[in-house]
Symmetry: C2
Subunit: 200 residues, 2 copies
């Protein structure tokens, strides 16, 4: 015996979460054990509720508790601009900036032939349908700057070429606050490639 069974179960369950190893799982399990019964019930309830109450928006594919989601139904957002992202988490990152006023389209991944992920596995068909049916003026492709993300961006740009829509790619380069000395070569060459004229 090291752990009583319910504690062992919890430690095992917590280890399924990303970046949680055996030691962290044990520390978290003990802290849950030290919570009041009411507090632990809240954590437990929150976990089951995200699975039961949340769904994917049938329009944009983001995570939502109402369908269509609050962004797709918001009349104050521009429905003429669609930002294409790989995962629903990316939406939060963009929303946090409070800069973007358009709508989204979540692909639910990126093209990856090695992992057997082709165009049919992503929400590309529904993106083309949206662009075909609605009055959309610009599609911003905001996939990650990885091999998969770049391949996906290129594929999408080709598909969207058949439509009367501007296709743009978000800028990649030196991060704000970045010091050239410590930035990798690829980012620097990408930043030089993406240089823009300074308007004085």
């Amino acid at each position: 015996m090291i752990y009583p069974k319910p504690l062992e179960d919890l430690v095992k369950q917590l280890q399924k979460l990303p970046t949680i190893g055996p030691k962290t799982a044990q520390r978290l399990a003990f802290s849950i054990l030290k919570m009041s019964e009411e507090e632990a019930a809240k954590v437990s309830k929150s976990i089951s509720e995200v699975k039961t109450k949340l769904k994917y928006c049938t329009i944009c594919g983001s995570i939502t508790d109402q369908d269509p989601c609050m962004i797709c139904t918001n009349p104050n957002r521009s429905h003429q601009i669609v930002c294409v992202i790989e995962e629903a988490d990316d939406l939060l990152a963009i929303e946090r900036t409070r800069q973007y006023k358009g709508v989204y389209h979540v692909l639910m991944g990126a093209l990856s032939p090695l992992d057997g992920i082709g165009p049919r596995d992503l929400r590309i068909g529904s993106l083309l349908d949206r662009v075909g049916e609605k009055n959309i003026g610009e599609v911003i492709i905001a996939t990650n700057y990885t091999t998969e993300g770049q391949a996906t961006a290129l594929y999408l740009a080709k598909q969207l070429d058949n439509f009367d829509v501007d296709v743009t790619r978000i800028a990649y380069g030196i991060p704000v606050g970045g010091d050239l000395e410590y930035i990798d070569d690829q980012t620097i060459s990408r930043a030089i490639e993406g240089r823009r004229k300074i308007n004085l």
Copy 2:
């Protein structure tokens, strides 16, 4: 809107856990969202079960699903040696070594006048009762090497002086694999203080 409500709730709940900040909480919440409903239910169930199924052993104060616990009821362990620890987690650390064959006594904290924790707030009375009633030969004090842990050790040693029992303190010094150059002065002076004769 950034998060749908159930997701926001979960992120808030996860942040109550130690070392889990807003970013980690968000990452964990998303990974729970990506689990199958069945898997998420298991996590949720494990959390509620540690609170409902586990209790403290009435003899030693450790966390257990049966009372008295498996260590206190184990006939293969030496019930003549009692190791006194601050918290139930410490028991696991000692058990992992598979070296110690005695039983335990969890104090549920350490003396800390600044936080208003006095002898009556700890399981000291029940320790003295155990030593008084039973045939105990040695009490190993394994409180932490902190101001509170040291004060507690000293207090216990004085209390136990009235009984016919050996009172020992676990050794503190250089950790195994420790390089003197990188070890703090207090640990070094403690290691010198605790030096033992080398038996050739």
